[in-house]
């Protein structure tokens, strides 16, 4: 009833009742466009969620592997850390699945609404052409009212459905954005595996240490039952390697400082070019 009143108000402005048919038909086509865009928007949101779920899944698998490897080298603490992170991801994944189901339901409803509206718009067009061809302006009014009945109600309902879908997708997008940020910030690590997280780094360090030990053991065995290995020497090699990193990081801040003076120089040069242009603008 509310929707009908709104449509009628817009129609009051038109003189020839037959014009209202064209006017309404135009509005119907616009709404149909809007529903179709709505369906596409919901589908886009749904696909984005699917993509994120895949990324989270990959990440969860990776953490499981890490936990496995950590256990193999006897680092239960690392394994625990990896599994803790994975359970955090699992929570996100479960939420995404619920949202995915909601979006899918919304998409189906909207698709169905779009089909229904399309059929009604087609029926209206047929009626409209008949009325325009058959009746004079004076005779047309009752026929027009008949033609309007149903379509405006449908339009109201579809309008609500679009509104709903828009609200839902907006919510989803805000959430999806938050997960994207989380993925980008490295908190969930890079799914492409280009950036190494701390667990991977530590596991690799352990692996290289044990590789060295294995190699040593092989060499000693080849030499013929040498004395006990000296892991201290190997451990002693690592601190220098790690110590090399801080200096390279420390070298970055000065280079950033060096850039900022250049940036400060830029505005004056722009400012010099700008003044000639502005007076010209003012004169015209």
């Amino acid at each position: 009833m509310i929707f009908r009143a709104k449509t009628d108000k817009a129609l009051d402005k038109l003189e020839d009742p037959r014009q209202t048919l064209d006017y309404s038909y135009q509005r119907q086509l616009e709404l149909l466009q809007k529903v179709r865009r709505g369906v596409a928007d919901v589908a886009t949101s749904r696909k984005r969620i699917e993509l994120q779920a895949n990324q989270l899944n990959t990440q969860a698998d990776k953490l499981t592997n890490q936990a496995q490897k950590a256990l193999e080298v006897g680092r239960e603490d690392l394994a625990r850390e990896a599994l803790t992170r994975r359970s955090g991801l699992q929570q996100q994944l479960n939420d995404l699945q619920v949202q995915h189901a909601q979006l899918q339901a919304e998409e189906e409803k909207l698709t169905r609404a779009s089909q229904r509206l399309q059929a009604k718009v087609d029926a209206f067009r047929t009626k409209k052409e008949t009325i325009k061809a058959t009746y004079s302006a004076a005779e047309a009014q009752t026929r027009i009212n008949e033609a309007f009945s149903g379509i405006s109600e449908e339009m109201g309902d579809v309008g609500l459905a679009i509104q709903r879908a828009e609200d839902k997708t907006a919510q989803m997008q805000a959430r999806a954005g938050a997960i994207d940020e989380l993925l980008a910030s490295g908190a969930l690590d890079d799914p492409t595996g280009t950036a190494k997280d701390d667990i991977t780094l530590e596991l690799e360090q352990l692996a290289s240490t044990s590789d060295v030990e294995n190699e040593l053991a092989r060499m000693k065995a080849a030499l013929g039952a040498g004395p006990a290995a000296e892991p201290q020497a190997i451990e002693g090699q690592q601190p220098p390697a790690q110590a090399q990193q801080p200096p390279t990081q420390a070298a970055q801040p000065p280079s950033l400082d060096a850039q900022s003076p250049q940036e400060y120089q830029a505005p004056p040069s722009q400012g010099q070019e700008a003044p000639p242009a502005q007076p010209q603008g003012d004169l015209r």
């Binding site: 009833m1 509310i2 009604k120 309007f148 109600e153 309902d157």
Partner: protein, 94 residues
């Protein structure tokens, strides 16, 4: 009688079938009065299921006004309160 379920479409219902809906309508009203969302969802599902099973779908290309407009199955308390405030006899008159 033609009944619209918002977001779903329209159904043809016989007058007898409509009368049979009143007890289900009461359940919806009670849930809204109690502010119980869970109860409301349950009552709405029952009511709408009843319409879908006792009624016959209005064809997509039919242009007909509805005699009744009912909220969607997943409506919130707020949605239904708003619809009810526009009608003093519950969702279904009589």
């Amino acid at each position: 009688m033609i009944v619209r379920i918002l977001n779903e479409g329209q159904w043809h219902l016989t007058d007898d079938a409509v009368r049979g809906l009143n007890s289900f309508d009461d359940a919806v009203e009670q849930a809204v009065a109690a502010g119980d969302q869970e109860q409301l969802t349950k009552a709405l599902h029952t009511l709408l299921d009843r319409i879908r099973t006792t009624g016959s779908r209005v064809a997509d290309e039919e242009l007909e006004d509805s005699d009744l407009i009912l909220p969607a199955a997943d409506s919130t308390l707020e949605d239904v309160q708003q619809l009810l405030s526009e009608s003093e006899e519950g969702l279904i008159p009589g």
